[in-house]
Structures are given as C-alpha cells and as structure tokens.
C-alpha cells in the first residue's frame, strides 16, 4: 500500500461528489430532518426520543454510507474504471482505504451536524460525552461503507444494489434493539441479533446515553463494531479481482 495513492483516491472520490451537490445536501440534511421529525413525533414522551434518537444517530450514517458506497463502487465496476485501476500499480487496499477515508470524512460532517442538532436544539438528554456519540457514529459509517463495498460485488446493476439496502439493513434495524429491548425478543431472534453488528452500535449509543463515563460495555461494543467493519472491508477487498472471466 502507498499513502499517496490512498490519499489521491480519497481526494478523487470527494471531487466526484463535489460535482454532485444535490447528493451531498441529501446526505447531510436528511438525517437532521428525520431527527427533527422524530422529536415532534414523540412530543409527549421525551424519554422515548432520548433512547430512539441516540440510536438513530448511529444508524443514519450506517444507512447513508451503505447506499452511497454500494452505488459508487458498483459504478466503478461497471464503468471499467475498476479494471483500469487494477491494471495499474494500485493496491486493492489503497482503493478501499481511499473510499473509507472519503466517506468517513463525509460521515464526520453528517454525524457532527446531526449530533449537534439533537443535543442542543432538540434537547436529546445524554449522560455521557457527545464525543463518544460521534465516535460510534463514525464507526457505524465505516461499517456502512464496508457493507456497501461488499454487496456491490453481488449487484449487477444499480437497481439491484438499491434492493440490497432492505435485504442487508432492515433485518438489522428490526433486531438491533431500536423498537424493543433485545432481551424481550423471542430467544432465537435475540441470538441472531447477538451476531449482527448494528446491535452493538445501538448498545454502544445507549451506554453513552445512560452512563457519564466510558464503560467497559461501551469499549466492547465500539470494538465489535470496528472489528466488524474491518472484517467486512477485508471481505470487500477479496471481491476486487484483477483478473476477471
């Protein structure tokens, strides 16, 4: 791997996005609007907003980055630029790290705005530090990038890539403990939810909501999300082939 090639790739991805201001606006504003909506949906029960709102701060970056990455890498595969890049002296790790860096930077902006809005304008009540919320949101964004990169290998068209969103994300959304605590679920579902990374993202957010300090559980949750992201990124790298049939 080569740092300069990684940075050039990240810069290129961001440049591509800059030519598409509408996508940037959607990525950054939609989570804020959703939080605003949620705040007034739970107007009568602010404590529900506290728990769901914090979880959503972790889930939004995951979903956005999943969508953006799966489409962007699919385009790279179908336009022939991936084949061209892999015929050049570019390490697969450079390409993946470049994407992760670029979308990670975007996720920082998105999460910072959403977290700031939730904490200071919408009155989200969090016991722990806002920085920890931001950290989990960033790890979630990385996980979304990794998953998007991975599934793009199995999509033949952008149409299919979008369909992977409900297939990969919705089950995790239902099982992550957002709607009901995970230990209230049917035991089989609870066991499944123990194996899904989004569950730990939500658990981590809830740790921050409830505890003033960094707890052992928080460290474990954050480490699991990060490890999952790295694992899926490695799987994604394996789907990039220099030689194709």
């Amino acid at each position: 791997m080569n740092t300069n090639r990684t940075l050039s790739t990240a810069a290129r991805v961001l440049r591509q996005l800059r030519h598409d201001p509408r996508s940037i606006a959607l990525m950054i504003l939609v989570p804020c609007v959703m939080l605003l909506l949620l705040r007034y949906v739970f107007d009568g029960s602010p404590q529900t907003f506290d728990s769901i709102g914090a979880s959503l701060l972790g889930i939004f970056p995951l979903i956005t980055m999943f969508l953006v990455t799966s489409i962007a890498t699919l385009r790279e595969r179908t336009s022939g630029t991936l084949e061209r890049l892999l015929a050049m002296p570019l390490a697969k790790g450079d390409l993946i790290a470049g994407y992760a860096l670029a979308f990670g930077a975007l996720a920082v902006i998105q999460s910072a705005l959403a977290t700031g809005l939730a904490l200071w304008a919408l009155g989200l009540d969090v016991t722990g530090s806002a920085w920890l919320l931001l950290l989990v949101a960033l790890l979630d964004a990385l996980l979304g990038t990794a998953l998007g990169l991975f599934v793009s290998a199995f999509a033949a068209s952008e149409f299919q890539a979008v369909q992977f969103m409900p297939a990969v994300i919705f089950p995790q959304l239902l099982l992550c403990g957002l709607f009901t605590p995970r230990d209230n679920m049917q035991p089989v579902l609870e066991a499944i939810s123990n194996g899904l990374p989004m569950s730990y993202a939500v658990d981590g957010m809830n740790e921050v909501v409830r505890h003033p300090d960094i707890t052992g559980d928080f460290v474990r949750d954050a480490a699991i999300v990060a490890a999952c992201a790295l694992l899926v990124l490695a799987l994604g790298a394996a789907t990039l082939r220099r030689r194709t049939p």
Partner: protein
C-alpha cells in the same frame, strides 16, 4: 500459467518483403495461448509474436476474441493457459502494471470528473508523490491532453463530452507516464475521418519517437493499411500474421480486406 505442447499454428506466411530489421526480443510472445469464458473456448491455441517499436494491428470481425486477447496481454483476463510473455515478463506480473497503457473498448473514465481531474487522478496512481514528481505529473497530464486534442475541453466534465471525446480521454489516460507497450482496443470506433487520421498519425509518432510498441484492434479493415504488421483473427484463431503488403501479395488481392476474405474462404474450404 501452464505450458502446453504447442500445436501447429496459422497458415505459414510467405516470403517477407524488405522491411526494417526485426528487433531482438519481441514485445509480446505467445505460445499455445488458450482462454475459456464460461464453457466456451474464446482463444484456441494461439502462437504469435508482436515485434517491439512497431504498430501491430489486431483485426477481425466483432466477437472473434480480439478484446479477450488484449485482456490476456494486460493481465486482466482470468483462465488463460499457455505461455504469454509481455516485455519479457509473464503477462499480469505486477512489474508490468506501470509499463503498459491499456484502453478498453468502452471509455473507462469518471463521468463526474473533468478531463483534467480524470488524468490527474490516474497520473497520481502511476507516479505518486509530491514536489518535483507532482510538477512532472502536471506536465505529463497537459501533454497527454494535448496529444488527444482535448486542450480546449480540459475543464469540461467527461459526462458532457461526446462519445468520441470520451474515447479520447480514455486514450489520454493510457498515454500517461510514457508506457513501453500500448494496448488499444478499438480506439477509433465512432470517430470522424479527420480525427481517425489524426489519431493514427499520433500512433505513428509515438511508435517512431518513443519506440513504443502499439497493439491496436479494429474491425475496420482500411485501418489495417496503416499498421506495420497485422494479426488477422477469426473465431478465436489467427488466420494470418504478416505485413499488410505481403498479405496482399501472397493472396494476390488489392486490399487487406480482400486478403482477409480470401483467407476466410480458404479456411472454410478446408
């Protein structure tokens, strides 16, 4: 890659006319090269060489295996058997990646970047670094844009260019970093006659001035006359490997197109 016993190949070319002395080692050397896609054999036991510093045309109808052969040479084609040496290395060796310029049939550029941004990115992949390297890279980018005659469009988004212009952006990427071997898959398709002539002039300049070996595919037979050597392909096999002139002489035909048809008829008759 495996070595298989080389079988007899291609109708033997007849006597050579006077031409520049052949350089010592060929740029591309293939022996019993076979490729399968799915269950279908695309290339059947090809044995041929491509000389250095010359323009070799790869001609044949669509679907005859030209693109697959080119992908094998640049090392992006899977399931290739036989021997294939490119610039004295087995095809696909990492060391070759910065020495070969490759243009795919469809323009492979980023539509949401400008011409210059496209080239800047690919140049940064080829020769990463800051300071002096970056300055040289900028000059390289400017030169490549000028070579494909897109200087006036340098700041236009690739998506807003015409098909032929996007093809030329793709070609410009391959010209970055002065590669020793250029593999061009139908680079002149969809271009007007003036541009086609200009590009062929550019290929000749590049081959003559930089000693670059150029392998260019086309299904337009009149472009064959502008190559130093020709590989005529049909259904995954090489029908002829010769200069345009001796092809015409040996088949007693006025054009390469007529020579090709003559060879196809002869192959069908046997």
């Amino acid at each position: 890659m495996m070595n298989i016993q080389p079988p007899p190949q291609t109708p033997a070319p007849t006597s050579q006319p006077p031409e520049p002395p052949p350089p010592p080692t060929p740029a591309i050397q293939a022996t019993s090269l076979t490729t399968t896609r799915g269950t279908r054999k695309v290339l059947h036991n090809l044995t041929f060489t491509v000389p250095q510093g010359q323009i070799t045309g790869l001609l044949g109808p669509s679907g005859c295996g030209k693109s697959t052969l080119m992908r094998a040479i640049v090392g992006t084609q899977a399931r290739v058997t036989g021997t294939l040496n490119v610039l004295n290395h087995p095809a696909g060796t990492p060391a070759l990646r910065s020495r070969i310029g490759y243009v795919t049939q469809d323009p492979s550029v980023y539509d949401d970047l400008t011409v210059r941004q496209n080239l800047e990115y690919f140049a940064a992949i080829l020769s990463p670094g800051h300071g002096e390297t970056a300055t040289r890279r900028q000059e390289d980018v400017t030169r490549a844009i000028a070579e494909v005659d897109l200087t006036t469009h340098a700041d236009a988004l690739a998506a807003n260019l015409s098909g032929g212009q996007r093809n030329r952006v793709s070609l410009a990427v391959a010209l970055l970093g002065t590669p020793e071997l250029l593999v061009l898959d139908e680079p002149t398709v969809g271009l007007d006659p003036v541009l086609r002539r200009d590009l062929w002039d550019l290929f000749h300049t590049i081959a003559a001035n930089r000693g670059t070996t150029i392998l260019v595919s086309s299904h337009v037979m009149d472009e064959a006359e502008r190559c130093h050597r020709l590989l005529l392909m049909r259904e995954g096999e090489i029908l002829a490997d010769d200069t345009p002139e001796s092809l015409r002489t040996s088949t007693a035909t006025p054009t390469v197109e007529a020579a090709f048809l003559h060879l196809v008829d002869k192959a069908n008759a046997t």
